[in-house]
Structures are given as C-alpha cells and as structure tokens.
Amino acid sequence: MANKWEVFVMDLGELAEGKELELTIRTLNDGLHKYTYQRAKVEVSSKLDQFADSLQVRLGRGQLSDRRFSIRVIERVERMPARYL
C-alpha cells in the first residue's frame, strides 16, 4: 500500500527534484504511529504518479502548502549517535 508522508520546509526550494535529498519526514499513515518522524534519503517529484508514495508539505508556521509531490524513500538515515540507541 502506498504510504503518505509530510515534511516541514521554510521554502519550497528545499524540495529539489531529480536528485537525492535527505529530509526529516513524518508518516501520515493512519494508526498509532501517525505523525512520528524519521530521517531519510528520498527523491521527490512534482509528477504525482512518478513514485508510489505521496508527500504533502507544511511551511514555517504549520500552513499546509497546496503543492503536492510523490516521493520515494530510498533509505532511513539514523542521525542519533549509536550510544543513545
């Protein structure tokens, strides 16, 4: 099943297309873990059928942007030092 994701950006320019990005994204899938975050390498596209998962965007003070993207999560990135995991 396709996953739904959300990202906070200050500027839509942070979501460059056609290259790998590292973003902090949160899941919008229904269930107990909705709104939890992870850091991930991703690729985004303004073509909504480019990737299976969808991405919606919120701006600096939580405003929902009307721009929508599709997204591919390439891999999870763990930033937290191993001693705390």
């Binding site: 949160r26 873990h33 975050y37 939580g62 937290m80």
Partner: protein, 486 residues
C-alpha cells in the same frame, strides 16, 4: 492555618469539577488526531466546563482531561476553595499559603504508588502506546507534555525542579522541547550537563494533581515539591523512578523516564502558543530520550490547548507571575497595593498599584520586575496609583490614556531577555531570546503641586460631598431610574 482540603490528585479534581458542574464527562468516542484538541480549544474560547473525554479512538482504557484550570472557578476548586471565590480571594489564599513554612515531600513504597501500576521497559517502550494528541492542526507533532511537569535535579546543589516545558513526540522513544535558557532546567543544562557532555536524567509527569501542575508552572523561587506541599497543606507523595534516581509524584497518571541528550538535537515545533499564535519557529531543540514509561490503570492524560484567550497557561501564569511580583516588590519595602495581570494580555502586561510616596517609584518597580527571574515573560509594566482599581480595566485604561505622559511616562528598556514566543519580536531576536520592555508610568509626578497642578478626578465618588452622594443614592429608584441597560 485552617486545614486545607484540596483535591489530592487529578482524579479527585475531576470528580470535584464534575460535581460542581465545572467538568463534563464525554462518553462518545473522541479522536486523538485533532478532535480532542478542537474540543479543548473551543472550551477555552467559550469559558466552558472542562471536558473529561472517557473514550479515545485507538486507545481503549485511556482518557483525557482538557483545560483543567482555564477558569477561576476550577482554580478555586483546585485550591480547595469555594468555586465562587473571587480572584482577589484566590490571590490572597495563594499568598498566604506560599508565604507559609515549606512542607517537604515524603517518599513512599513503590507498591503503594498508583503510577507504577503498569511499567514499560526496554523494547516495550513506545510513546505511541500513550494517547498523545495532535493538539492543533499543523503543529510540528503530537505533544506529550502540554500540562505536566519535567522533573530534574541539579547534581551538585541537589535541588529538584519541576517545570512545565512543552514536549513533542518525535518518535516512539524521542521527544523534543522548548526549554528556555533562562528557565531553571535551562540553567542546570548550561551550568552542568552541557559543558561536561553528560546526559541529564529526567522524568515527565502527566496527570498531576492540579496543585502540583500549578507549582510546575509557577515562577516561584521555592523548589516545586515544597511549593506544592505548601499549596496543598500536606507533603507530596513521591516514589523513586525505575531507571534513574529521580523521585516523581506517586499519584501522577503517567510517568516518562529518560535522559536529556547533551550533544544531539531533533526538530521541535511549530506549536500553538499562549500568545494566541504559532510564533516560535521550528528548530533543533532540547532532546529527551525515553527509557521507561509507567502509568496508572485507566490513565488520564491532561491536555492544555494554548491559543487565543483564555487557556490555563494565560490564566495561571498571569495569576502566579503577578503574585510573585507582588511578593518581590513587598520584600523590597515598596508600598504596592497590588499586582495584576489580565489573562487576556497573555501575561504580557503587569499592572502594579502603588502609593506614590517618592520620586522614581515606577522606575524602581519596572527595574525590579524586568530584572527579576519573572522578567522574560512579560514586556510591559504599567504603574498606577493606589486610588485606581488594578482589577478594573476600565479604570486602568482611563489612567493610562490620561496620565501617562508620552515623553516622561514611557521608558523603553533595550537588550533585555525575551523569548522565541514574542509575536512582536523580530525573527533574529526570537532566535536568541533577545527582548525589549517598556514601562508605562501612570502616576502623577511627585514634583507637581498636589493642590494646583494635579488634576482632580471628576467622578461621582470623588467630587460630591458624602451627604449628597448618600441622598442621591438613596433616592435613585424614587427619581425613576431602573438600573442602566448594559
């Protein structure tokens, strides 16, 4: 002092509020995702009864208690007073109790501690097992701590701090929060843990007794466990944590234990704030790693929903900031007649009444207020004389608009301490907690001749002889007046 009989825990408080009509039980299912938050917000804006939501989607067995202290009636109930008590009565009671002898907490056995009824450790730890609400649509996350206490200890001085510092769930084991550098916890971190690169043990307690929550957000110099004892007239019952040496209120509904990381941060915010805006930017903030969760059977999570007036942040913080300033000014021998903050100023304006017995008294008040531990939380001090009723905004506003001289009465203080939450502050100042503050001196200058220079207040009470006032008042109905329509 007479025996105080205040609700000793959140459950007794809910019962008392339901009985007096100050809380409603909601049995239909409520969604943790926005719906509960929206209910609490509307309750705050309408001044309604507190919602006790007993059936939460996805979280059988848990409940929510929203807007616990967003009315003076509920504040009076929390203090064990008549719900109809007036604000000055509630204030006098707070001053009486917090000027009494500190009451030290006691530590009880784990077997007697309700908060240990369920214990999650190791791989079982997951904040998503708690009904953490999405309080406002568009918030940076679900907030675990909106009406709670973050418990820490200074490792050298040994003093314990309970502070209400918001905490967002980042993932099932990580929270981030806005701990300001001038707060007690902020100072402990910068003074000890951060320079050493050591983790700071913490415990978050949710569903506290209302007076423990009041202590956690009161800007008092008295350590909060003792302050809570003084407010409730009996020792707080504490119990040792599972994974660190801290002690937590045994009657709390939920305890989250863990460590504040000294060298790693995750994003926090944005979040709906007490000013009535989402102001402070999303940023990398103090990060809490969770090691254990313990909770009572059928645990109730307390929720405050900050936004436009009036919520308990505004009500209670206005209340305690004002009264703590009153104590401070009196400790310096200043002849203040009272201090009041209107909750709808979102605790930004201190109104101080004083007998203007010497020159510069308003400036002395402002310097003490802005220079104290309370100072970063408000940016306006308005000083009026002892003839002005500080609780009556019509009178205060009249005094301000007529007596505050634009050139001599307004004094701006630059480069003071602010917070990231000030809507009027520049983005740069928000980032670095840089503030600016202002005094509105509404006193007649002492060097004006009292008979010939100071204007006379033209009011019924002030200009007519007593006998005329009495005659007119007594004959009022006979003249044909039936009471003005408001």
């Amino acid at each position: 002092m007479g025996k105080i009989s205040a609700p000793r825990n959140n459950r007794e408080f809910i019962d008392a509020c339901v009985k007096s009509g100050d809380a409603v039980r909601i049995q239909q299912e409520v969604d943790w995702d926005n719906e509960a938050g929206a209910i609490v917000r509307r309750v705050c804006e309408l001044g309604e009864a507190a919602p006790f939501m007993e059936n939460i989607k996805d979280y059988p067995g848990f409940s929510y208690f929203g807007a616990p202290l967003s009315t003076y009636r509920r504040m009076a109930i929390a203090l064990g007073m008549d719900p109809a008590s007036t604000l000055p009565q509630i204030g006098a009671e707070y001053l009486k109790r917090t000027n009494s002898e500190p009451i030290a907490p006691i530590v009880i056995d784990k077997r007697d501690a309700p908060c240990k009824e369920n214990i999650l450790l190791g791989d079982d730890v997951d904040l998503c097992k708690l009904p953490v609400p999405l309080v406002h649509d568009g918030d940076g996350g679900r907030y675990v701590g909106t009406w709670h206490g973050v418990i820490t200890k200074h490792p050298v001085r040994g003093d314990v701090n309970w502070g209400m510092y918001r905490q967002m769930m980042w993932d099932g084991r990580t929270m981030s929060g806005a701990v300001f550098p001038f707060s007690d916890l902020g100072k402990t971190l910068t003074d000890y843990y951060l320079p050493r690169g050591e983790g700071c043990p913490f415990a978050t307690a949710i569903g506290l007794s209302p007076l423990a929550a009041m202590a956690a957000c009161a800007p008092s110099p008295i350590p909060e466990p003792e302050l809570c004892g003084m407010l409730s007239g009996e020792p707080v019952r504490l119990v040792k944590c599972e994974t660190n040496d801290l002690e937590v209120p045994a009657d709390a509904e939920i305890i989250i234990e863990g460590m504040i990381l000294p060298d790693y941060k995750v994003e926090e915010g944005p979040f709906g704030e007490y000013t009535g805006y989402r102001t402070s930017p999303r940023d990398f903030r103090v990060t809490f790693r969770v090691d254990a969760i313990t909770y009572r059977n059928n645990a109730t999570m307390t929720i405050s929903n900050m936004g436009v007036p009036q919520d308990e942040g505004q009500l209670l913080r206005s209340f305690s900031l004002g009264l703590e300033l009153e104590k401070l000014l009196k400790s310096q021998g200043i002849p203040v007649t009272g201090v009041y903050m209107h909750p709808r100023s979102t605790h930004h304006m201190m109104i101080v009444g004083v007998k203007p017995t010497y020159a510069g008294i308003a400036m002395q008040i402002a310097q003490l207020a802005f220079g104290s531990k309370l100072g970063p939380w408000f940016h306006m001090v308005m000083v009026v004389d002892d003839q002005t009723d500080i609780f009556n905004w019509d009178e205060v506003y009249h005094a301000f608009c007529t007596r505050c001289n634009p050139e001599r009465g307004i004094h701006v203080f630059k480069n003071t301490t602010g917070t990231a939450l000030y809507p009027h502050a520049t983005p740069h100042d928000r980032k670095y907690s840089i503030g600016s503050q202002v005094l509105f001196d509404c006193l007649w200058p002492v060097d004006w001749d009292k008979t010939n220079d100071v204007p006379t207040l033209v009011s019924f009470k002030n200009v007519y002889p007593k006998d005329i006032q009495e005659r007119v008042t007594n004959n009022w109905a006979d003249y044909g007046f039936r009471g003005a329509k408001k």
